[in-house]
Symmetry: C2
Subunit: 158 residues, 2 copies
């Protein structure tokens, strides 16, 4: 029995065509100092990041809100294909230790388009429909959309 195609993905998706080569986008996703420039929709920001960009490596960042809220995010890379694909989850800390609450798998796909452009796909997969809906209500589309705008602005400066 192959469940692969039957398993619901509980998926949220953002797709953009970006006027920058995928190497630059990959760099913006994988370099702590660059991630801080765009990853959180303002006025939130990333104040700290540790990105050990390899399968099983630590993906850690701290988000800070305008009223001093501090949200640490601990996770690992599941898959890394340079300039093509990143898969990250909060289901484990490094060493594959299960976390308190597996919430999502983030999949970033970078496809080359003519003229040095890139089709940028960012997906959030969840373990169940409740988490997907909660993520949607937390503002997935606005939040990831604003972050993508900030990414595009950063790419123009890179």
């Amino acid at each position: 029995m192959d469940m692969t195609n039957k398993t619901p993905r509980h998926e949220l998706v953002l797709v953009r065509e970006i006027d920058a080569p995928r190497e630059k986008i990959f760099k913006a996703w994988t370099t702590p100092e660059l991630l801080k420039e765009w990853f959180c929709p303002a006025p939130w920001k990333v104040t700290e990041a540790e990105l050990d960009v390899r399968a099983g490596g630590r993906n850690y960042f701290v988000m800070q809100g305008p009223d001093g809220e501090v949200i640490p995010n601990e996770g690992v890379y599941l898959e890394v294909i340079e300039n093509e694909k990143l898969v990250i989850t909060d289901a484990f800390t490094k060493g594959w230790v299960p976390t308190e609450k597996p919430f999502m798998v983030a999949v970033v796909l970078l496809e080359e388009l003519p003229g040095g452009r890139t089709r940028y796909t960012a997906k959030a997969l969840h373990w169940n429909e409740e988490d997907k809906k909660a993520h949607e209500e937390m503002g997935f589309h606005d939040g990831w959309g604003t972050a993508a705008d900030q990414l595009v602005a950063l790419l123009a400066r890179m």
Copy 2:
């Protein structure tokens, strides 16, 4: 904040010293026809297996009980180091699609001992204490212990 060492592992562990080189044990874990010989405590047996032994590859097997019960198990490899380490979870199907119920991470460690022997460590990590306890009550120690006995018997025939 590094949560790595603070995160509870909800861990069950089996350790054995086995009189066989780790290459043979790795082979018994990663070859479908061999897995069928030992992996389920009799009278249960593995009737089908697909083992795509690489990070992200499918780990699939079907267990069949004495009264015809059929239990398919779908998962992926998180990490593969030949003859040394296997990390497998049921939290995803291939393509990193989240499954209905992430239950455990299995970690198999093979350490070389003098005289062609191996220290065999099989761990089950869980996302919470309830799952760990449920696994313990399902008979982790007896079950994995009996499977290890069957593995040792197979290794003697290999």
